[in-house]
Amino acid sequence: MKRKGLLFYARLYCKILAQDLKSKMSYRADFIISTIGMIFTNIAGFISFWILFRNFSTINGWGYYEMLFLYGFSLVSLTPAQCFFDNNWSLRQYVYTGDFIKYCFRPINLFFYYQSEVFDIKGLGQLAFGLAMIIFSWIKLGLGFTPLMLIKLVIFLITASLVMIALQTAAAATCFWIHNSFFVLDLAFRFKDYAKYPITIFSKVFRFVFTFIMPIAFIAYYPSLVILRPDEVELLSWLSPLFGIAFFYIAYRIWMYGAMKYSGTGS
């Protein structure tokens, strides 16, 4: 089989995306309500954050606007997982009913084809929230602005987003081996809420756990240090793009390994 180029996949993605949007539009009420639900979630998250900081002005040496920056950063870096990899949530059903076999017969990358089928527009609301928080806290903190900072921000945001994608993909892949894997995926999904806290609040043991075993510290804390506190950047911050790529690659291999072993249900 000839290897297909990046351009081929990009064109293919646009075509599949258009189909998905068309089918979404036929359930307009569901689409609107889901979007409102997503906005609700973000507003409620922000209200909890705001209430917390009304009572306490700093947490572990982190001020309100610094925490807001971390929060915004985590929302933006979680968006790609929400938008492009939402089909992971259905994997369990496809595998269980045997419908997954249809994906195995296409002459394109299995992982790509499966994930490309769903694009979750409501994740864009989260992106808007996150960007607004980053910009607002950036101005309030008086961080200054150079093109280099912008490039850094974009690179670190993109690589940070790979971490959540990796967690979600690996969690979804467990359905190839165990039943009722919804709870594993739900567990991974709940991690995203913890990403917005600075890892310095944890004890040494859990700092290690949240850095290397369940790498949620790479979703917001390590990468945003580069912008937020340029004087005290840790080595792990500079390495975070590499970690993002590595985690993604491992998750991808796990997913593909499960998919290749899949033998269908015989129907």
Binding site: F40, S48, L187
Partner: protein, 267 residues
Amino acid sequence: MNPKKYLTLTRMGIMESLQFRMSTVIIFVGNLLYLIVVYFLWKAIYASSGQEVVNGMTFSDTLIYLVLATALFNFMEMYTVWQIGRAIQSGSIVLYLLKPMEIRRYIFMEYSGNFIVNFFATLFPTFIVVNIVTHGAVPLGLNLLYFVVSVVIAVMINYNIDFFVGTICLYTESIWGINIMKQVIVLLLSGATIPLAFFPESIRNIVNWLPFQSIYNTPLTLLLGKTADIKDVAVILGTQLFWFLATYAVSKLFWKISLPQITVNGG
């Protein structure tokens, strides 16, 4: 009223939930991680505030409150909205309607076995662990009795709200959006994410007039033994009972009005 038919359903529920031991383990791990995050977060918060007591709550009060709120959430979450929503979408709602028992009662009894399993598997052990970790910060006296009574009413209020929200699915094609909105509103306004004591005065005044605080805040305040006076306890439980009756009436009426709306396309 024949109690035997209800007990049969309860027994079925127990057997069913014991089938899925794996999911219980994963939920347990998930909660443990959440509790670790909560523990360190609030420890850092209290450490940076430099105060022992904030808004009438000490660190161990807050910790017990939040830990048990999580345990209660897992104890009470019945996924009724999903169940009703799916039954409406697939048309299997007809099977519920054909049963010689009211659908509201049937779904509740069907789930009641899980309450028993969940109580011994999560709520009770969590309570013991919390009490050991905080060196017996929970007073062991009449407040335990109030707590149990209050939780029973809370479970039923929660169910009424769930049933009401599930009924909305008759009109919309959306389950996810409706459910997430409900969950966000209930968790925030009931004080499950942040204790109501930390809310600003003005918001707390509004929240006190809503049914949601009866679900988490009421049982937990009673448990923490902040209200020793029997008259206060009576007023608190009375308010809760009022909300039970109110939500019961509203959700029953709404279901009755909505039932003719059901259309099932073939079988």
